[in-house]
């Protein structure tokens, strides 16, 4: 995975990534102020390419309440997504209505079919689970500075009931599932 970023369609007066860092012109600053709230359809890819990816997998997206250069400084993906290496394609774009930045990731390899996916999701090996978990983790790291921990939870006798086992399984997978 390249750690360099590049904009796919340079637009005069707006921020660009030159390969070593963000370059902001006076017009860009004015544009940022005046253009707050507008959707800017440009995409900043971490892999340095302008090309459409080879797969058409669905993007998984979180909106981060920070600017694009705080979410992906110098085109470098945040740590949890970076740790997934070549598994994912990552990009950012400004969110509508000053809501921050859309952090988008999708799996490069073909996604498993329905039957295989069920088995892989149960086993925790569907690659999309790792992408969803990484997106949520990176959002927290960027917005809050740390990931909210839960364990160890004080609890009484668990009793090893079937219902309890089911809840355990559901919550163990909860970070990697959902609609993202």
């Amino acid at each position: 995975m390249s750690a360099q970023g590049q904009i796919s369609e340079p637009v005069p007066g707006q921020s660009t990534f030159s390969g070593r860092g963000w370059r902001l012109g006076a017009g860009a600053i004015g544009g940022l102020v005046a253009g707050a709230g507008l959707l800017v359809a440009r995409r900043f890819r971490h892999d340095g390419s302008d090309e459409e990816p080879e797969t058409a997998n669905r993007w998984h997206v979180v909106t981060v309440n920070r600017s694009p250069d705080e979410v992906m400084p110098d085109g470098t993906p945040p740590p949890a997504l970076r740790a997934l290496g070549d598994l994912v394609e990552v990009e950012v774009r400004p969110a509508q209505q000053a809501r921050g930045t859309e952090l988008r990731a999708r799996v490069r390899q073909p996604e498993p079919g329905t039957a295989k996916s069920v088995l892989e999701r149960l086993g925790g090996t569907d690659p999309r689970q790792a992408v969803r978990a990484a997106l949520r983790e990176d959002k927290q790291l960027i917005e809050v500075g740390e990931v909210l921990r839960l364990e160890p939870i004080p609890h009484g006798d668990r009793g090893h009931t079937p219902g309890g086992k089911l809840v355990e399984t559901v919550t163990k997978r909860a970070g990697g599932e959902g609609l993202l």
Binding site: E143, E146, L148, P154, H155, V170, G175, E177
Partner: protein, 391 residues
């Protein structure tokens, strides 16, 4: 430490559990001084919200004394007496920065469960099942409070523990409903439910400028409290034609704002109530919307209905025709406690919000199972049980 745990449907027990620890830099640990039962606990107790695990510590409405602080905590010190919002919110995401704290993006470590049920995840909540994070609750000697600078508020001198504990959830839930329902000056507001949340919603409506506030229930001791401590008019729906009574009081129009503070285990009269009971017990619907149907039906044309009671998933026979044709605005919310707790504490300190009367049954934590039995069955005029494990 000792804690009151959920051990199965309609079963609780006091057990020895591990003490909580600081897990994140923004955490504090509290010694719990007061922790109260909430009507929404009964949905967990009765198995209506199924994502409970045996051994889960109950309790989400509490206050206490700070005994340990994480290294990133700036607002609180050891020894502070604080009340804590029941919802866990980061303070940094877009929702928190727009004071929609119960919608926090970062407060629920199990987001997929509520995403699957509701389309989006909401914030975490203490002891409100693993769907809302799986956090340990406050019916215990100690509790861990994440994001303490955001969710914990110092209690003013002169405000007792028992008065302050209701700012944690009941009063802030009531305020959420009354504020977001859009009450205009001199509006008539009807509140379904004279439990703690309904009473607090009624008082908030008055303080926000409502001209006439009517609280509806069937339990005489709760209606008495609403008259005596809140200053509201009351209606017993078992002894009158409720809609006709509300129309008569409002010039034939109906209330401008209707607040439903009952939730998924509503009671009622007539065949509608039994229909809802049978369907819920057979799990053909998850919630009984009896009071919500009434609120929609009674509301004036163009009025506002606020869903403040807790609902889980699906209801049947929803009066969509009434809602649409009368041009109603319907809104709902869990509580945005961090937004309202400071002003609630000010109102309590100033003497214009009574909360202590809600604590009808103070008890030691060891009596927790008995307390929940009383609370569930509304024995002895029980409105709220308050456990005081650390006092």
């Amino acid at each position: 430490m000792k804690a009151l745990c959920w051990t199965g449907v309609n079963e609780t027990a006091v057990e020895e559990v591990d003490d909580p620890r600081i897990l994140n830099d923004r955490d504090v640990i509290l010694r719990v001084r007061a922790s109260t039962t909430c009507g929404s606990d009964l949905h967990l107790l009765g198995g209506y919200i199924p994502l409970m695990q045996r051994g889960d510590v109950l309790g989400h409405e509490f206050m206490g004394e700070v005994v340990e602080v994480g290294k990133a905590v700036e607002k609180h010190r050891v020894g502070d007496r604080v009340v804590v919002s029941s919802f866990i919110s980061c303070g940094q995401c877009w929702y928190c920065q727009h004071e929609l704290y119960s919608l926090c993006d970062n407060g629920n470590p199990n987001p997929a469960v509520t995403e699957a049920m509701w389309g989006s995840s909401v914030g975490g909540c203490f002891a409100y099942s693993h769907a809302l994070g799986g956090f340990a609750g406050s019916h215990a000697e100690y509790i861990r409070v994440p994001f303490a600078d955001v969710g914990a508020f110092s209690v003013p001198d002169g405000v007792s523990d028992v008065a302050a504990v209701f700012a944690s959830d009941a009063a802030s839930t009531g305020w959420t409903g009354a504020d977001l329902a859009g009450i205009a000056p001199d509006d008539t507001v009807a509140v379904w439910g004279a439990g703690a949340v309904g009473q607090m919603a009624a008082r908030a409506a008055m303080l926000l400028g409502a001209g006439q506030v009517v609280v509806i229930d069937r339990l005489p001791e709760r209606l008495q409290q609403a008259r005596q401590f809140i200053g509201a008019d009351t209606l017993d729906y078992t002894s009158t034609n409720l809609v006709a009574e509300l129309k008569e009081r409002t010039g034939g129009r109906g209330p401008d704002v209707c607040i439903e503070a009952v939730g998924m285990e509503a009671h009622g009269t007539g065949p509608q109530y039994w229909y809802d009971q049978v369907k819920q017990q057979l799990r053909l619907q998850t919630d009984r919307p009896t009071a919500l149907r009434e609120a929609i039906y009674a509301c004036r044309k163009g009025g506002s209905v606020f869903v403040l009671g807790v609902f889980g998933l699906l209801v049947d026979k929803f009066p969509l025709g009434s809602l649409m044709n009368k041009s109603l605005t319907v809104r709902g919310a869990q509580m945005h406690g961090q937004r309202y707790i400071p002003r609630i504490l000010d109102h309590i300190a100033a003497g214009d919000l009574s909360t202590e009367h809600l604590a009808t049954h103070p008890m030691p934590l060891d009596d927790g199972p008995r307390g929940y039995e009383m609370f569930k069955n509304k024995e002895d005029g029980c409105v709220r049980v308050v456990f005081q494990p650390g006092s």
